[in-house]
């Protein structure tokens, strides 16, 4: 096995043949032709269909659950409640391999026993001959609730006497940063500005709802084929059920989007229990309405910024308070809060810094991972604050940013030295220029431009000691195979591995087969989360491919009587660099090497740079492997009679390190432009006393095709990242600045700031009217 640690040397000036090019993705044909198989597409003989009874209230004691009528229904094979799970009614919601830093307790009941803590908490599981029968059985279950006083606000829940939802004080996590001299920083300031910004619940709204089939096979292995971002959950499933890890086989087929919503376990344990109870395959595809209740949405945050700044635009101090609503269970709230804490100052260097961050439990929906993972919320507030500071001191906001951008070699919020390039300035400048002229206002419409920059990590928290493995081999006919259990959540994870392997082995992408998603026949790659899939599994694949290449070229060097570095591989041939006439097909090369007993394959592991955690008093330490930087700019119009906002142009400019597949990068930028637009303008889960009021796509408003603005992607490549060929993670980063740029554009258009997202027409009109009145 090959082992390498991070931080590559410079790889500028390498001549790339496949990487960075617009190659059609390997997964495109099967998806375009509708042949790709998703978790919900599997059928098995004797399969049963499941339904889940979700609590319809947020805070209640359960006096009794009467399932007798449901069980008696013909065709119903299993009805399970907490009473059936006395041996094991707990499932860990932490991530595999993580150490749970800051978390007191990450377990959660599989089924509510004597108490429900949130709307949607599962109470009973049903398996029946059809969904219709399962639904009939579900309708026959009688839950005797006793409503109890709940708490629905993370500030209320921290007050003495508040209803207790979690632990003994409702505090799910807290962090602080104490850096420099905060008093001195404010003393040095010419201006001090304080603002509080709030943001809302956002639903992942992936196209494919939770779906899985579970069955126990002839070897007594529990198989689960699930739409999950994390096949490593097989361990948590096994732990919850009290069976050995090696008897749970969790596979992920193609996935119709996750965005973090399939990062912690969703329906896997439920199906496992039903399959074990009925000894038959059991399938569940959540309805859209239940999907809203089956994974954690984005955390609402309240963020107060107090900033000191000199009259020439140097930020001298920041005091930031972050509060997130964790909802009823911890899930990943501590990590998300940590990301927000580290990202509290955006892409800026702040030497005198004070951050207090708290995540408090309530009886609201348990919030969880969602693209941006806390950093996005923190960055959105920070970029609004920067704009307000610029306005206060009368400076161009990009100029203000330029005076404060963190630089390579600078310490960030937690004292970690930034090692890669920081191209915020180039990105912001190009994005703004791409917006072009601002149209002049008309009778009803005012126009505005907005910009936002960001810093977002890629790769897991370093004390989780993240690794990824991949296997690469050449076949006797010159084609190649990659085995890597990365989950393909639709962003081209699988295809990227083919492109990387093809570059290194000189084999065309479409002659490379990638086996992915199945962690029991392929080496484990780790999660498709944290913008780490390409970075980690790509790097492991790169290492494995390079090892194969080295083996074969050593053998061929003897054959051609040159040194290995005088040889290259391209277009399915091996050739002498100086004399390309001297060549051999890869097929013949493989045969020749195989006959000499040379290894044609390699299994590599890639280890992310580790660290040992934060000093709890100062919040100093190394948290992330590296960061991606960039900017987004937006042009909007606002109707001053109605408050309607139209995004006209949306431009993302990002230093992605190195694009592996340029179209895939653009796909991420375009998708994030819309997801960020939804967050800025229309998306919001509305809860009344914890009960979700708009859990459907007619009331929860993601942007539709009719809402799509002109989107432009500007891709810059510093090749300074830790990923293959100097790439950086981009899935989350490209999303981080979008909503902030739109909010800044609206503020520019109407001349006043709305501190509370989303910017609904009603809020915008109110702000316009208040602004008019105050003049």
């Amino acid at each position: 096995m090959n082992q390498t640690e991070a931080f590559p040397g410079s790889i500028a000036n390498v001549n790339l043949r496949q990487v960075g090019k617009n190659k059609p993705r390997n997964d495109a044909p099967t998806k375009v032709h509708g042949k790709a198989i998703y978790a919900g597409d599997f059928y098995m003989e004797d399969m049963l269909f499941a339904k889940v009874l979700h609590s319809d209230r947020a805070s209640a004691n359960i006096r009794n659950v009467d399932i007798s009528a449901a069980r008696a229904l013909r065709g119903v094979h299993s009805v399970l409640t907490a009473a059936d799970l006395t041996a094991c009614n707990a499932v860990m919601t932490d991530l595999p391999g993580q150490t749970g830093g800051g978390t007191k307790d990450t377990t959660q009941p599989i089924l509510a026993a004597d108490r429900v803590r949130f709307h949607g908490e599962p109470i009973a599981l049903i398996a029946a001959e059809s969904y219709e029968l399962a639904q009939q059985a579900l309708d026959l279950i009688v839950v005797d609730y006793e409503d109890t006083e709940g708490v629905y606000d993370p500030f209320d829940s921290q007050k003495p006497g508040a209803a207790i939802v979690y632990s003994d004080d409702n505090i799910v996590a807290d962090y602080k940063i104490r850096k420099g001299d905060i008093e001195k920083g404010f003393d040095e300031a010419d201006y001090v500005l304080q603002n509080t910004f709030t943001s809302q619940y956002q639903e992942q709204a992936f196209m494919e709802p939770e779906a899985a089939v579970a069955w126990v096979d002839e070897h007594e292995i529990l198989n689960i084929r699930s739409s999950t971002q994390v096949v490593e959950h097989f361990r948590a499933v096994a732990n919850a059920l009290g069976i050995p890890h090696n008897r749970v086989h969790l596979q992920a087929p193609y996935i119709g989007g996750g965005f973090g919503g399939k990062e912690v376990m969703t329906i896997e344990v439920w199906l496992a229990l039903l399959a074990m109870d009925t000894k038959r395959p059991v399938k569940l595809i959540q309805t859209r309405e239940n999907s809203f209740l089956s994974h954690g949405p984005r955390h609402p945050f309240t963020i107060t910024h107090k900033t000191g700044v000199t009259k020439d635009g140097k930020v001298t101090a920041m005091k930031i308070k972050l509060t997130s609503d964790a909802g009823a269970y911890a899930k990943l709230s501590p990590y998300i809060l940590l990301y927000a804490t580290v990202g509290a100052t955006g892409p800026y260097r702040v030497d005198n810094l004070w951050v207090d961050a708290t995540s408090a439990a309530t009886n609201n929906l348990p919030a969880c991972a969602f693209r941006g993972f806390g950093t996005m919320q923190a960055n959105t507030a920070c970029e609004a604050q920067m704009e307000e500071i610029a306005k206060l001191i009368g400076m161009d906001s990009l100029e203000l940013r330029r005076k404060n951008f963190i630089q390579p070699g600078d310490p960030n919020t937690t004292g970690q030295i930034i090692r890669s390039s920081v191209w915020c300035d180039q990105c912001a400048t190009q994005a703004l220029a791409a917006l072009g002229e601002q149209p002049s206002n008309s009778e009803h419409l005012v126009y505005g431009h907005g910009i936002a920059c960001y810093q977002q990590s890629y790769g897991r928290i370093r004390w989780m000691k993240d690794t990824s493995e991949s296997w690469v081999g050449l076949e006797m006919d010159g084609t190649a195979i990659v085995r890597c259990a990365v989950t393909d959540i639709g962003a081209g994870q699988m295809s990227a591995l083919a492109q990387i392997t093809g570059e290194i082995l000189g084999v065309p992408m479409d002659e490379i087969t990638v086996y992915f998603g199945d962690g029991h026949v392929n080496p484990l790659a780790g999660t498709s989360t944290a913008s780490r899939a390409l970075y980690m599994s790509g790097k492991a694949t790169e290492l494995a491919a390079r090892a194969v290449r080295d083996n074969l070229l050593q053998c061929m060097a003897r054959h051609f009587e040159v040194s290995p570095d005088e040889l290259d591989l391209a277009d399915s041939t091996v050739f002498v660099l100086d004399n390309p006439e001297r060549r051999m097909s890869i097929k013949d090369m493989v045969k020749l090497c195989a006959a000499e007993g040379v290894h044609r394959h390699n299994l590599s592991i890639f280890k992310a740079p580790p660290s040992e955690g934060l000093d709890p008093e100062t919040g100093q330490g190394e948290v992330f492997p590296d960061f991606t930087y960039g900017a987004h700019a937006a042009q909007v119009s606002v109707d001053i009679d109605t408050g309607e906002v139209t995004v006209i142009k949306s431009v993302g400019a990002h230093d992605v390190g190195q694009a592996i597949n340029l179209r895939a990068v653009e796909g991420q930028i375009e998708g994030s432009a819309l997801m960020g637009q939804g967050f800025a303008l229309s998306e919001e889960l509305i809860l009344e006393k914890g009960v979700l009021k708009n859990g459907s796509f007619s009331e929860y408003l993601i942007p539709t095709s009719e809402d799509v603005p002109e989107i432009q992607s500007i891709v810059l490549e510093s090749r300074s990242g830790l990923g293959p060929f100097g790439s950086k993670g981009i899935g989350e980063p490209v999303f981080a600045p979008v909503a902030a740029s739109i909010a800044n554009a609206v503020a520019d258009a109407i001349g006043t700031r709305i501190h509370d997202l989303p910017l609904t027409p009603e809020k915008v009109l109110r702000a316009i009217n208040e602004n008019k009145a105050s003049r």
Binding site: D641, S682, E762
Partner: protein, 286 residues
Amino acid sequence: MLPPFDLSQPQSLADALQALAGKGDTRPLAGATNLVPDLRGKRETCRDFVSLDGVNELRYIKRDGDRVTLGARTTMADILDDSGIRTDAPALYAAAEIFAGRMVRTAATIGGNVCCGSPSADTVPALLTVDAEVTLSSVSGQRTVALDEFYIDYKKSVLRSDELLTSVSWNVPPQNSANLFYKLARRKGDAITVTGVAVMIAAEDGVCTRARIALGSVAPTVFRASAAEDLLAGKALDEAIIEQAARAAADQCAPIDDIRASADYRLQTAFSLTRRLLTQAWKQVS
């Protein structure tokens, strides 16, 4: 999940009317773009439907002199594909253009939109501004009702359970007229209207000869702002009188608070959009 339900599929109007006759809770099903969400959302209790899918004789756009008639099965996409509706009923065309999204427009029918009785039905304000009439048919005969007299209350109309709405018709607006529609919603596609306003202004010799103002989503039913219309008729319009009319229109609203918007916001925008559309319409005709 969709509950189980019965569906008959007649192939002619006569069979469809027969299927509706004499039975208790049997309802027509056209594009099902209201019915399916309502069944899933448990808002619809009927479990016996008569599909109009095979009743092609209800899918037409006909012109007879100044009279335009749409069969009830005409879809929003049909309206947009027709070469004449843009001039025969400009506000209706505008409503069809911003109606839902492309997928729903190909299924949603004009009959379903009128009969669903929703105060946010987008074609209704537009149709009210051209004084549309609806034809209601049953095995025992047919009657024609002014659309203005069709609605009784929230999702209640004069339509009997054995009746089918078979057509919608109106006279092409006069020469010098403007007919406008504005849909205010929280996003551009597939959105439920927060405030909908349609106006029709006809003018001769600098005087407003006909004024129609209809508002959606600001009361239990779509309605005509008759007091405001009366203020305008016979006058040369100016800023002051338009403002007065818009105020009168807002006064006739009885909006509610819901998760899409507050009543207050609906009132404000009913006023400002009425004012805006009247101003634009007057500019076009003068």
